[in-house]
Amino acid sequence: MLRMAVRSILANKTRFLLPTVAVMLGVAFVSGALLYGASVQASLDRVRPDFSVQVSPYTIDKPVPAELVGELRGVAGAGEVRPVADGRAFVVGKNGSLVGPPGLAGGVNFDAHLELVAGQAPKGAGEIAVDDWTAGRAGFKVGDQVRVVVDGNVRSVRLAGVFTVQDARVAQGGTLTAFDDATARALFAKTPDSYTAINLTAAPGTTDAALAANVRAVVSKDLTVDTAAEIRKPGADSKLTEILLVFAGVALFVSVFLVANTFTMLSAARAREHALLRAVGADRRYILRMVLAEALLLGVVATVLGYLLGIGGAASLDALFSVSDGPPIPLQVVGVWPVVAALGVGIGVTVVAAYVPARRAAAVPPIAALRTGLPPSGKSLRRRNVTGLVVALAGAAAVAGGAESADLIYLGAPLLLLGLIILTPLFSVWLTALLRRPMTRIAGVRGTLAVENTRRNPRRTGTTAGALMIGLSICAAVTVPIASVNAEDERRADTGDSADIRVTAIDFADIGAETVGKIAQVPGVQAVTPLTPVSIGVGRTWLDAAGVDTATIARFVSVKVKSGSLDGLANGIAVSAKEADVHKWTVGTSVAPGLPIVAIFDAAEGFRYDALVSASRAETGRQPSTVLVKAAQADSVRAGIQQALDNPTLVVQTRAEYIESVGTQLDLVLNILYALLSISVLIGALSVVNTMTISTLERTREIGLLRAVGLGRRQVGTILRLESVIIAVLGAVAGLLAGCVVGAVAVAGQGGIPVVLPWGRLGLFVVVTAAIGILAALWPARRAARIPILTAIQSDTE
């Protein structure tokens, strides 16, 4: 049986090539994602916590007093007691940009557990030490002047030493900057005589839990005491793996179509062969097992190749997604999970996809061996259409309900898609009925033939288009919400304020206290104001106020003062008319002790604060979220500000740049999604190639006849290209429609954001699929054109 399967596959290499590639891609996706995830986790697992018990504040605004260190040394069972002052410190590379990802830029007080490999421990505010991986990749040497950013301020310091450390941040590609104890406390701790945490190791013979209990008895209620086991180990960011697996699932789902289509077409082509086997005594089960054995073999080959490709993929994932530029992660080539998953997925998908065609093959009656001509073509589509309609309607109803409750979308969207996939043969019949006339007008009888060929087997056309449809529907379903959100953000950004230049900090970083002053001194700057979020307690709720420069704010925010005046803002507060209505405030009411309302205003839609106060009312240490600047020559002043700040954690943008960046901030996400979906679309394209190849083989005689009555070689290609474009566009249009509906409902469900259909992109998708159609016909058309006429006419592929 297996030998027969091997022979059959070798004899039909062309037909099995594309399904193998499709399954291989899916398996590579799955195993690559799992191997990469496992490798990252393994490298993080090597970083063990270097303490037994940690004392830290419940809320970050509370200090851990320094004198507690001495007390803890006296606790029974305590070994080493190590105070920690930990925070964010960004390292600026020699090229002026940040070293490592901003989210993983750590700063810490230098102590003995940082093992020096070069130089000495940092002393005083002017010296630091960095971890060896950072020093290595940034090209720093002991004695270099290095710039670091802490609390939004740049400082130039001398690199006193380089150390090695097992730290989760460093393992993931971050940086660790060590300062001497006093400097670190000044930078990171709440007060200069406190720390951010104290780590203790247990003395031999004492369990972590016992030590924790002893420590708990000593420390105040403001502090929490946890054992190392209780503190969650830094888990690898499994999101990437999860996202990859979702898209791998989509890719594999698409592969199912390709594999099923191949086996269906193969079974039709070999109906006589199977009938002959039946006639000489093979039973149905034999034929079924024979076809499934072929599927199994194909699955095994695809799995092995896919797994190897997956290893390569995992190795390049790091670079591809620039997930981390940390120390090289040793790649795990074999894992129990990845191997099991790859085998299960690769073989499972193939065998499941081949099962229905295999059963159909087994149902061929022995008498068919004697018949000539085509086996009877497919059954009526009625049952299929009814099923599809019911599923699609149920899905559509659930999606429509999704406007009320978002959860329904997750149920409805796949149902809708599934229903539409079941209905694709019907669509193909409709579409081709519509297309016959125009295509005949445009391309003459070549158009007629192309349309008729796609109609000939609606199931096959449907399955082929369905494979493309899946990828494209997801493309549309993610594009519509992102385009809507982007458009809305852009609109709001445009109306929020009238600053010519704005300065913001990158994620995880702050705008330092010196920033506003530095900007004000740049030539050409006409006015500056910080926007510092200030929360003002009003009864049980909070008022989101913007702490601003009271003298200049009126030039930045177009506020319509309804009553009162902004002149006295330095000694009071201005509130929005909405808040005033809610609280029934009038000018003169005291919102909080010593904070009378001086004005009530209507602000532009995009301005997201409820009130204005003087920036001086912000709590100490609270930094501006944005600095707004007025300048006549925005472009040159922007450059001047950039130069004056010289801080890679700050972003300086002109108004146009800012609006554009807001309107495109999700584009990166979108592009990553496209990249992931491209694999599914690629498999969909392969499915078109596959169908075109096989149907060309089936129609050898027809092509021969056409050539005999005067069809040129190139025109053979025209017909096939038209045919394949029709199939591709059918998939694109059905997929995009479904995707847009789902996406639009998802947006509508969020409320407040108008749905924006990105026509440009949708059009581009259609064009791209049409191009895919043309490309997909390339190879089959070449083959078809090369068929010698006589051989074609005399062949028995009727």
Binding site: R701, E702, R707, V709, G710, L711
Partner: protein, 247 residues
């Protein structure tokens, strides 16, 4: 009567394979085909009769000699030229599978014109359709037509472009004798009344009896020619082949 020569076979030869394995299918056959002439090509299996007409009609390329249609040497044509020649100068009728299943009878008939992006000449088209007697079946698909009707559609298609020559390869091979006779009568009428040149490969003496002359091929050579054949005379001649083969 002007009997212009429309097709010439000049020492046509075809050898398959090379060296020891070479098989000679045609060993230099010359013949001329004049206007209005209905020629049957006969011979035992393996005599090269099909290869002969295939080479003559540009479906196959001869390894020696040349074929001319309307004065054009087929060997001098490019692929595109040959395609055009097939479309405009030659009409084909095969033994089976003559029609595209996806097109209606009408679309099949005008296919050579459609491929050349030409509009059918309505008077001529009507004449052809009336002659094959399918005026009421034009919107049917081949699967809805009988074997005889399909073959008549094929004949109409071969005639529609008013080719220099119609090449029919066993056109009645798959038909019963009554429907076969209709096809042969149709071809005969085309030659006699419309001046159509027809070359037909057949192994059936009765079919050959419809022709104006018969060419006999054996072992890749032209061995005999018979004018005004009747089925009996053809059968006699064929018997002699068999006798030779036995001896």
């Amino acid at each position: 009567m002007d009997q212009r020569t429309v097709a010439v076979a000049d020492q046509l030869g075809k050898v398959y394979g090379t060296g020891q394995a070479a098989v000679t299918a045609l060993a230099g056959v010359s013949a001329q085909f004049r206007q209005r002439e209905f020629t049957a090509v006969m011979g035992p299996s393996g005599s090269g009769k099909s290869t002969f007409v295939h080479c003559l009609a540009g479906l196959d390329t001869p390894t020696s000699g040349k074929a001319l249609i309307g004065g054009t040497d087929l060997g001098s044509l490019t692929e595109a030229g040959l395609t055009r020649l097939r479309r405009e100068k030659i009409g084909f009728v095969f033994q089976s599978f003559n029609l595209l299943p996806t097109l209606t009878a009408w679309e099949n008939i005008v296919l050579p014109l459609s491929l050349a992006d030409k509009r059918p000449d309505s008077a001529w088209t009507k004449q052809v359709v009336d002659a094959v007697g399918l005026a009421d079946r034009l919107t049917h698909r081949p699967s809805e037509l009988s074997g005889g009707q399909q073959q008549r559609v094929a004949c109409a298609r071969a005639l529609i472009s008013r080719p220099d020559i119609v090449v029919a390869d066993e056109p009645t091979g798959n038909l019963d004798s009554r429907t076969g006779a209709q096809i042969l009568g149709l071809l005969q009428m085309c030659a006699r009344h419309w001046g159509q040149t027809i070359v037909m490969v057949t192994h059936d003496p009765i079919a050959a009896g419809y022709a104006d002359r018969v060419l006999f091929l054996a072992d890749g050579r032209l061995v005999d020619e018979m004018a005004h054949p009747t089925p009996d005379r053809v059968l006699d001649r064929m018997r002699r082949f068999d006798a030779q083969a036995v001896r």
